[in-house]
């Protein structure tokens, strides 16, 4: 059914991706990311207790999650005219000898692989301990996602068939609906998993309504698989899901849309957006978005670097808002627990989970090489430049965390203030270490070929950087009996460590040769 060349392409891409991921674990960044991932998974697995939530209530929560995936796919499809392909697909497959149907099936094949991975993630995070038949839940989640992929594609095909004016109106409506559905569903799922109030019971009641059961039919059947024990009911649910998969696939094939041109336009548009975002271009054209020359004397010299970073950040407001959303979610899942110990564990996990988020913001030292070289050549102290470069990446997660904590403080659930107070200093320390490592790595022809020992040393160093702060906190608290004094002293020590590391970074930035940059 799938063209042999496209099947070869899928297999080879997946195989090479897995191999590359495994190889990446050898690099400091990959190793550190892997450790964080393991912590998060283990944390999610062991923290919390769902004893008070009945099986049918759990089923309703997971139905909401899968139903959200289903409808976000459909609404997303209605909002775009064409499927989104990778740039390489456009260059190598679109002019190639492949029929429209084969290109769609190829796209599905890649989505099926992603659905398998996501089903395993759901299984590990939720299904394994919250539902009676986790493996069946994994299978149901996979089939539900496949149906969602098919229906999303069918919706995108339908969008291609309508007139421009109609499409624009439909898109406006779907964007609003998508936002509403996302906020509602994610809030309900998080609140349900966190065991907030009587949300699980309310979800359970809602899911017994006929309309919702029809609207979320594949999701209902998927979670049915996870809870039923007799084979008759299980086979019925499985058969229903398979019927959904087949029917939705036939619908895609039946709709007479020209996916090639529509998908080419949609993919190119997205490609340009991604390239713009990578270059820090978010606002362009209309109205002019140039920032005026800052008048503050603080913005002279190294301050100009801060200004540059700040502008870059402002123009990536969506990424920051996305970060804010993630922060709220992390604290919802991990920090909102019933006892103080869980809260502490949760906030620490939340802290760790913040690191990859912060690392992905394209500001600070994660600049293109030529820009980094231009920074080095500015006529001011390189230590100051380094500090200015780091200030925004440290400041942003700090502000996000303050907002996240404030939200929870407002409802009377405040995770330990330690995380809030020590975070900037911790991030400065971690950022400095990573940046020093990055400067060293630039000297190597293959920066990825760093051994595991180096990665472990880096991780241990980062952990050790936190020890003096913790020790000071505990010591001062024991001596004075005042928690606030302990926190302040701990944060002060942590800040001093960050300062020492920052100075080291400035020196490295000044002294190290960066071939190809200067």
């Amino acid at each position: 059914m799938i063209h042999p060349a496209l099947w070869y392409l899928v297999r080879t891409r997946v195989r090479n991706r897995v191999l590359q991921w495994l190889r990446k674990l050898k690099t400091p960044g990959g190793f550190f990311g892997g450790i964080v991932l393991v912590f998060v998974v283990i944390g999610a697995f062991f923290i919390g207790d769902w004893g008070g939530v009945t099986i049918t209530q759990r089923q309703a929560i997971f139905t909401t999650l899968l139903g959200f995936l289903l409808w976000s796919g459909i609404l997303g499809g209605l909002g775009q005219r064409g499927l989104v392909y990778a740039p390489a697909d456009l260059d190598f497959l679109f002019p190639g000898p492949f029929a429209r149907r084969q290109l769609v099936i190829y796209q599905f094949a890649m989505q099926y692989v992603a659905a398998v991975v996501m089903s395993i993630v759901y299984l590990l995070l939720f299904g394994g301990r919250f539902l009676p038949h986790p493996v069946w839940f994994g299978l149901g989640a996979f089939l539900c996602q496949v149906t969602a992929a098919h229906l999303g594609t069918a919706a995108a095909e339908l969008s291609m068939l309508v007139a421009d004016a109609v499409f624009r109106r439909v898109r406006a409506v779907t964007v609003v609906l998508l936002v509403v559905v996302t906020i509602t569903a994610v809030s309900l799922v998080v609140a349900g998993i966190a065991g907030w109030g009587n949300i699980p019971a309310q979800l359970d009641r809602a899911m017994s309504g006929d309309v919702l059961r029809v609207l979320l039919f594949p999701a209902v059947q998927a979670t049915e698989l996870a809870v039923v024990s007799d084979w008759g009911a299980r086979l019925t649910a499985l058969g229903s899901l398979l019927a959904c998969v087949v029917a939705s696939f036939l619908l895609v094939v039946w709709i007479p849309a020209d996916v090639v041109e529509g998908s080419f336009a949609a993919s190119r548009k997205l490609q340009r957006r991604v390239e713009d975002l990578k270059r820090g271009v978010v606002t362009k054209g209309k109205g002019g978005a140039s920032a005026p020359l800052p008048r503050s004397p603080w913005m002279q010299g190294a301050g100009a670097v801060f200004w540059l970073n700040w502008l870059s950040l402002r123009r990536q407001l969506r990424a920051v808002l996305g970060g804010l959303f993630v922060v709220v979610m992390i604290f919802s899942i991990f920090a909102v627990r019933s006892d103080d110990t869980s809260r502490l564990d949760g906030s620490m996990l939340g802290l760790l989970a913040m690191v990859p988020l912060w690392m992905h913001l394209p500001i600070g030292f994660r600049l293109p090489r030529d820009q980094l070289a231009a920074m080095r050549n500015l006529p001011t102290s390189r230590t100051r430049i380094a500090a200015a470069l780091l200030s925004v990446p440290v400041l942003v997660p700090f502000v996000l965390q303050v907002i996240g904590l404030t939200l929870f403080a407002a409802i009377g659930v405040l995770p330990p203030a330690l995380a809030l107070l020590a975070l900037p200093a911790y991030l400065a320390a971690a950022a400095t270490l990573l940046t020093i490592e990055a400067i060293f790595s630039l000297r190597k022809p293959h920066a990825n070929a760093v051994n595991v020992l180096q990665a472990m040393a880096q991780l241990i160093t980062q952990m050790l950087a936190l020890v003096p702060g913790f020790a000071t906190l505990l010591g001062v608290r024991m001596a004075t009996g005042d928690m606030h004094a302990g926190l302040a002293a701990g944060a002060l020590v942590q800040g001093l460590i960050a300062g020492v590391l920052l100075t080291t970074l400035g020196r490295q930035f000044q002294e190290r040769e960066l071939p190809g940059l200067s």
């Binding site: 392409l9 080879t12 891409r13 260059d91 190598f92 679109f94 029929a99």
Partner: protein
């Protein structure tokens, strides 16, 4: 053999290509020149079957693109201006994929010579994500050459290549044409077009202003002895003046 007849492509109300007709023959290199926004890339994408024209027909090796796109595309190779190879495939895996897609007989025996010709031998087992821009361009060209297509479309083929690679590419394009392929090159580099192409098509605002050998075009424009650059400016500026005068 490539035949384009009254091709018209519109994006909403904007007409990118209007009633364009031309032919390109086996063994010939046809240069497509025009300013930015002239419709060159749109024309190439229509021929490659990526964009669907509102009017007109395109035939590749006698096969009408609208009737049987798969068969027509099998005889065609399109190399975009900035090729994006698959990051997760090595150079040789790209060739294997192309061989499967186009049913190339005994492809492995041709890999070494092709990689040698395009100076990619050392990169054979490297992932495409690690290739420079010029290397990516060469990889796309290697994939195109592997299957000996009847019609080859190059969109700005020499962008990002070093002088040595430019010479290699010029020689390769000439060799493919001499071997019987129909080659269509869209480029801003008028010197390249003048030296390499047998015939030239000047495209401006979606319309063909002149088609023919450089001598034939000179006869209608700047006069004998003029360079392609002079001819190009003469034709396009005259067209703009006429358009402005008429409005």
């Amino acid at each position: 053999m490539l035949n384009v007849d009254r091709l018209t492509k519109k994006y909403g109300d904007f007409t990118a290509v209007s009633g364009l007709s031309f032919e390109a023959h086996p063994g010939e290199i046809l240069g497509l020149v025009g300013p930015n926004g002239a419709g060159k890339t749109t024309t190439l994408r229509c021929i490659a079957g990526i964009l669907k024209p509102q009017e007109g027909t395109i035939s590749i090796e006698g096969q009408r693109l609208a009737d049987d796109p798969v068969a027509a595309k099998r005889a065609l190779a399109y190399i975009p201006d900035t090729p994006h190879p698959f990051d997760m495939l090595t150079v040789v895996e790209h060739l294997r994929f192309t061989a499967l897609a186009y049913r190339v007989a005994d492809p492995e025996s041709r890999f070494d010579a092709l990689l040698e010709e395009l100076e990619l031998t050392e990169k054979r087992d490297e992932l495409a994500s690690g290739l420079s821009r010029g290397m990516r361009q060469k990889l796309a060209i290697a994939c195109a050459f592997l299957r000996d297509p009847g019609v080859i479309l190059f969109d700005e083929p020499l962008t990002g290549l070093d002088p040595r690679a430019i010479r290699t590419m010029r020689d390769s394009m000439r060799a493919r044409a001499d071997a019987g392929a129909t080659v269509l090159i869209s480029s801003h580099l008028l010197d390249l077009v003048e030296r390499l192409c047998d015939r030239i098509l000047v495209l401006h605002r979606g319309q063909a202003l002149a088609v023919g050998t450089l001598d034939e075009i000179r006869a209608t424009a700047a006069g004998s002895g003029a360079s392609l650059e002079e001819v190009f400016f003469d034709i396009t500026e005259r067209h703009d003046e006429e358009a402005n005068g008429g409005s």
